[in-house]
Symmetry: C2
Subunit: 299 residues, 2 copies
Amino acid sequence: MPTIIECVPNISEGRDRASIDAIAAAVRGVTGIRLLDVSSDVSHNRSVLTFVGDAASMRAAVAALFEAAIPRIDLRRHRGELPRMGAVDVVPFIPIRGASMEDCVALSREAGAAIAERFGVPVYLYEESAASEPRRNLAEIRKGQFEGFAEKMKDPRWKPDFGPGEPHPSAGAVAVGARAFLIAYNINLATKDLAIADRIAKAIRHLSGGFRYVKAMGVELADRGIVQVSINMTNFRKTPLHRVFECVRSEAERHGVAIVGSEIVGLTPADALYAAAEHYLRLEGFSAEQVLETKLLGE
Amino acid sequence: MPTIIECVPNISEGRDRASIDAIAAAVRGVTGIRLLDVSSDVSHNRSVLTFVGDAASMRAAVAALFEAAIPRIDLRRHRGELPRMGAVDVVPFIPIRGASMEDCVALSREAGAAIAERFGVPVYLYEESAASEPRRNLAEIRKGQFEGFAEKMKDPRWKPDFGPGEPHPSAGAVAVGARAFLIAYNINLATKDLAIADRIAKAIRHLSGGFRYVKAMGVELADRGIVQVSINMTNFRKTPLHRVFECVRSEAERHGVAIVGSEIVGLTPADALYAAAEHYLRLEGFSAEQVLETKLLGE
């Protein structure tokens, strides 16, 4: 069984192509790492790197990321539309295959401790790695942003998990943690009535009594003359796609509305699709090891 | 999109471990080839190798296979329970990803011509590569077996596609061709009545009016006290799993019988499962390129 962990760090540079390329090259150069994507947003002035590897390669890649980013990104001169607190702003580790959430929590602690020691950047463990409830939420950690962080850190409740008691002068602070893969999943309804999409979104989302790992809202697709339940699946292993699909189908039927189709936006782990096939085909004793391509992913 | 072609040659040696290991090692040593499995059957005195790679690696691997097998397997001394005609008996190429059936037909012709020229073994193109209808069927080609092949080849209808007009003295003849991946798929029914499984098998199989790429029969699972429709899916792209599952469900319901579950025996390409997920979730615009693991399979 190959070990695949994904890392999707956000860095606070989305405009200077030379800096972004140099930081990406540093990550790509680490043995055992596959850099899958670099997406930069000019107005947010932020880039998201996507890379995969095993735990050992991840530790090396995160060190390479900071080593390349710190001399190139100075938050004292940074402007952008989204809240941010660090040159490397957030480093999430995501278990994909052959690694558990616990493995990724352990990795986030090791990587966090190493970053703090080597680069003098304060580290906050967040999401599944958080030591306390308020630190699970990235938005809570980021509050105050880079400009307010020296002040925020004077409060003993915001002592970092690793590293100095004040922000790095140019690189600020960073959140490091483990979380599940997020699948952006939309279900399209054969109606123009946005109120129906809204009611169904409310029925399935955690906030209002629905599935624990679902965030959802109703959206109008004006060009197609239909509406959509737009969903973030924050843990497809615990709340799988097919269960949400069937719930939406049942709720929509109650309004006399059919499902036109659904869509996965961007990437999904193969396991999310295997789980749907397994459910509907009622597969007995299925294992991803039976999939030819799994055998090709390495040892 | 990585190119993955699978090759599952049968060799007429299932007892002498040293020979089998040497032949497997020759294939494994070819750059770009991943040897996934070697299964030997002592009573059949036959081994099946499973390896994958792109077209160029496949040509080299098949040459390496013959080079290692010919000095080690002498059919004049071979005994086994199944029909066979060659030291390397059959070489099927199977498109998995990024390669079409046409690509595999072309590969089988190139590899066949090269084998005939280099090793002096007559080559019959079969299945999708066959030049005429009687040669599609491996059993027809094999008829007469090694012992009867010199006689069989005197008939001009059995002139090989490549190579000499008589069998190789020790290595006989070989069938080379392209075919679809075969998925062994069983559907279990909540009844002890074998007649129901038989009737459903008859309903879905090609032979008696069912799906073109389905072979099926009823089987008793005495230990579980149920019956099974045992299926060979000979082309899951043209006759997908979910269509057969839904047809079996409908036929079973007509007898008041439910489906307990289904099972995939052995390996399946990921695409067969993606297709089921796509069908039931009504996915719009889905592509295997959206699956994270696909991106890890190489260029």
